[in-house]
């Protein structure tokens, strides 16, 4: 852990990126099959990792199988680079893979994420690794995997549509705001992991490679670049993303996903970008060119 230690795969008792080579080969084969069947959950021999289930063991295994010495790794949790989960996973890969880390979405070649897709558009060749707690979108409807597997096999997704309809009947709108189910490549129903539905449209036709790892459930799935990802909806209740009346209190963005922050005991609150890199970049740009910022906001 000490700074400046050069870790390589031959000296510290751990293989490069923690996993042994046979495990990596197994995960790599699963990843290739996952890309070949977009949205289909490939079972894999998930290993026990040195952190608890629910903290990103699936994402870490996927990242470990993909990462190399030339990569730049970015890790975010709820959009932020400086939260506990993100910091510990970043430090983990610095320790076991001696890999370069960054907070910049532009620079990163691999982005491991929990619950957000970065606001900055991704590019070809970038790999986005999602940490997935529950990969089965039908799990709350049908807990038996023997059944959900058949539902996926025969594309029997009516039950999910009924669940959304029950929302419409009860509340007048589809109430699901995160982990919003989507049909990938016109065939497989997929859980996008607990990202806000605000991020669902970013998955469609994204130039980057999107990989999903569920450690406890031992499933890997993927969305290849330039693939259709259609969020379920109805003709008279089309899919909509969240909107906010205000803008980010720090950078003024009106297009990003905003978190509500309580600032005192009297109910004062403010809205700030959940994507810290996006917000910091905008603040830095505004600081260096104040006139442009004012002009940009009027536009």
């Amino acid at each position: 852990m000490s700074a400046g230690t050069t870790m390589n795969h031959s000296d510290n008792g751990y293989n490069f990126a923690y996993l042994d080579e046979q495990t990596k080969r197994m995960i790599r084969r699963s990843l290739l099959k996952a890309l070949s069947i977009p949205g289909y959950q490939v079972p894999f021999g998930g290993r026990e990792m040195p952190l608890a289930y629910g903290w990103g063991t699936g994402g870490i295994q996927v990242t470990a199988a993909v990462i190399g010495p030339d990569d730049w790794l970015k890790v975010i949790d709820q959009g932020a680079d400086d939260t506990t989960n993100a910091v510990s996973i970043r430090r983990f890969f610095q320790t076991v893979a001696d890999v370069a880390v960054t907070e910049s979405t532009e620079v990163a070649t691999i982005i491991q994420t929990r619950h957000r897709i970065p606001e900055t558009p991704l590019k070809e060749g970038q790999v986005l690794v999602y940490q997935v707690p529950q990969p089965e979108p039908l799990q709350k409807i049908e807990p038996r995997e023997t059944e959900t597997r058949k539902m996926h096999a025969y594309a029997e997704y009516g039950a999910m549509q009924v669940t959304l309809y029950e929302d419409v009947a009860h509340f007048g709108r589809i109430a699901k705001t995160y982990d919003y189910p989507a049909i990938v490549n016109g065939r497989h129903l997929m859980s996008p992991s607990p990202i806000p539905k605000f991020d669902n449209p970013k998955m469609e036709n994204n130039p980057a490679i999107q990989l999903f790892g569920a450690g406890r459930e031992k499933r890997i799935y993927a969305v290849p670049p330039y693939t259709s990802v259609r969020s379920l909806d109805f003709d008279d209740h089309p899919f909509e993303v969240q909107t906010w009346k205000g803008s980010c209190a720090l950078c003024g963005s009106t297009t990003s996903y905003l978190d509500e922050m309580i600032t005192d005991d009297r109910g004062s609150r403010m809205f700030v970008c959940s994507d810290t890199d996006f917000c910091n970049t905008r603040q830095a740009e505004a600081a260096s060119a104040p006139d442009d910022k004012a002009a940009g906001e009027d536009a």
Binding site: H9, E21, R25, L35, S36, I37, G68, A153, R187, P225
Partner: protein
């Protein structure tokens, strides 16, 4: 103990007086680099993805075929070799470096390594997976003459922005009509990674090809 008794039988496989060719010089980073290329090839079908390192491949394998085998195959992946691949030093090289079972039936192979595509078995003879487990299908590694000198085909599907023009040389005449039948099985079906020299090109089952 059994390891010792099996070791001598490994040694004499050096056919034709030459010793077995080595595997990866750096098993960790070479495998990672080649996997990353195969990930990109599968994610962006129809693109020529060159490997950034070269290998001394056993006959009749090209460097890319050999590298892909070392990266993806091991004791968990029964593999089928076509007759030409069996004839050279490749079979014993694979057994030694990957420790994999080489099998005769195409229908149970997880991987099929093809160096003579004109004598390729029909695609339906390979494992196309089960309807509940479509990932349990054969991945074909097909070594071809050229990615650019063959008949023109147009590829569309996930991973391709609009369409990709590909001209793979040396495939049997029935290949693309068999590929259409393969897409009809979706989500079942075989996947292909073409190799040529030191480059890869992915053809996952989702891709529609107009020949």
């Amino acid at each position: 103990m059994t390891v010792i008794s099996s070791a001598p039988s490994m040694r004499p496989v050096s056919s034709g007086g030459t010793s077995l060719k080595p595997g990866f010089a750096d098993p960790v980073f070479d495998a990672q680099g080649v996997f990353r290329a195969s990930l990109v090839a599968t994610a962006y079908p129809g693109r020529i993805v060159p490997l950034d390192r070269t290998f001394a491949a056993p006959r009749p394998f090209s460097p890319a075929t050999a590298a892909l085998c070392l990266t993806l195959l091991d004791f968990e992946t029964p593999a089928w070799l076509d007759r030409q691949a069996q004839s050279g030093e490749a079979a014993s090289w694979l057994r030694f470096h990957c420790g994999l079972p080489l099998i005769d039936e195409t229908a149970t192979a997880r991987f099929a390594i093809v160096t003579d595509p004109l004598n390729l078995p029909r695609l339906h003879e390979f494992a196309s997976g089960e309807i509940e487990y479509p990932d349990r299908s054969t991945t074909l590694v097909i070594q071809v003459q050229s990615f650019t000198d063959g008949p023109d085909t147009t590829w569309t599907g996930p991973g391709i922005k609009e369409s990709a023009g590909v001209a793979i040389d040396g495939l049997p005449s029935w290949f693309w009509s068999d590929w259409d039948l393969n897409s009809e099985l979706y989500p079942r079906g075989v996947d292909v990674i073409f190799t040529c020299g030191n480059a890869l090109m992915g053809l996952p089952r989702t891709i529609k090809v107009e020949a």
